[in-house]
Symmetry: C2
């Protein structure tokens, strides 16, 4: 195994591995319920703003810009902890959500389950 | 709001929105502990194989091919439920893991937390 990979996987240094678009995958989990609330992407600027402010910032792939979750709705995500995966290309943000995380008004963006070829609402 | 977006967000039809690389983001959660175990990517073939077999398959971006999680280690992920997000570009796979999910031997790939500029092992 290459030395860089050993350091990345086993080390104490934060060496985020941004993809070809300069992004990390970020999974937002609610601290209380442990529900997965949303998935979004962070570039270096979004990561820096999140660390600096304590509120989740992302990079919008569709709008091509930095945004703070809740900047218009007020439904911000207070970040309590950031976990990093083995190869450092994905993060889990353990958050305290202020309001619903989904722009549809749902608590979580994952409000439907796949059943056969269709979708059904998640009840729990 | 455009009709397609309404259908995608509120409808009962599964209309997966693959990105420019033909991928969806997949977050694996353990059914029992609700831990986030790993994050990976699925193309249409990986999604089809997962639905067909009941075991998690992904598309490896580095190796450019379909793989079944655990195909060499035996640490497969039995998929109990697939949840779909609002815009249908991300999935949560609720799984029963057979062995550690991480190739390092850790139960979850997210075994470190960010503290300041460095990483610390997650104890819980």
């Amino acid at each position: 195994m290459r030395q860089e990979q050993i350091e990345r996987e086993a080390g104490a240094a934060f060496m985020p591995k941004f993809d070809g678009q300069g992004l990390l995958t970020a999974v937002v989990v609610a601290a209380g319920t442990r529900d997965v609330l949303m998935v979004a992407f962070m570039d270096a600027a979004a990561l820096e703003k999140t660390k600096e402010t304590g509120f989740a910032h992302f990079h919008s792939r569709s709008r091509g810009r930095l945004w703070m979750k809740g900047e218009t709705s007020g439904h911000v995500l207070k970040v309590l902890e950031i976990r990093v995966d083995c190869d450092q290309d994905a993060l889990v943000l353990i958050c305290e959500p202020h309001g619903p995380a989904c722009h549809t008004g749902a608590i979580s963006c994952f409000y439907r389950r796949l059943e056969g070829e269709g979708l059904r609402p998640v009840s729990d």
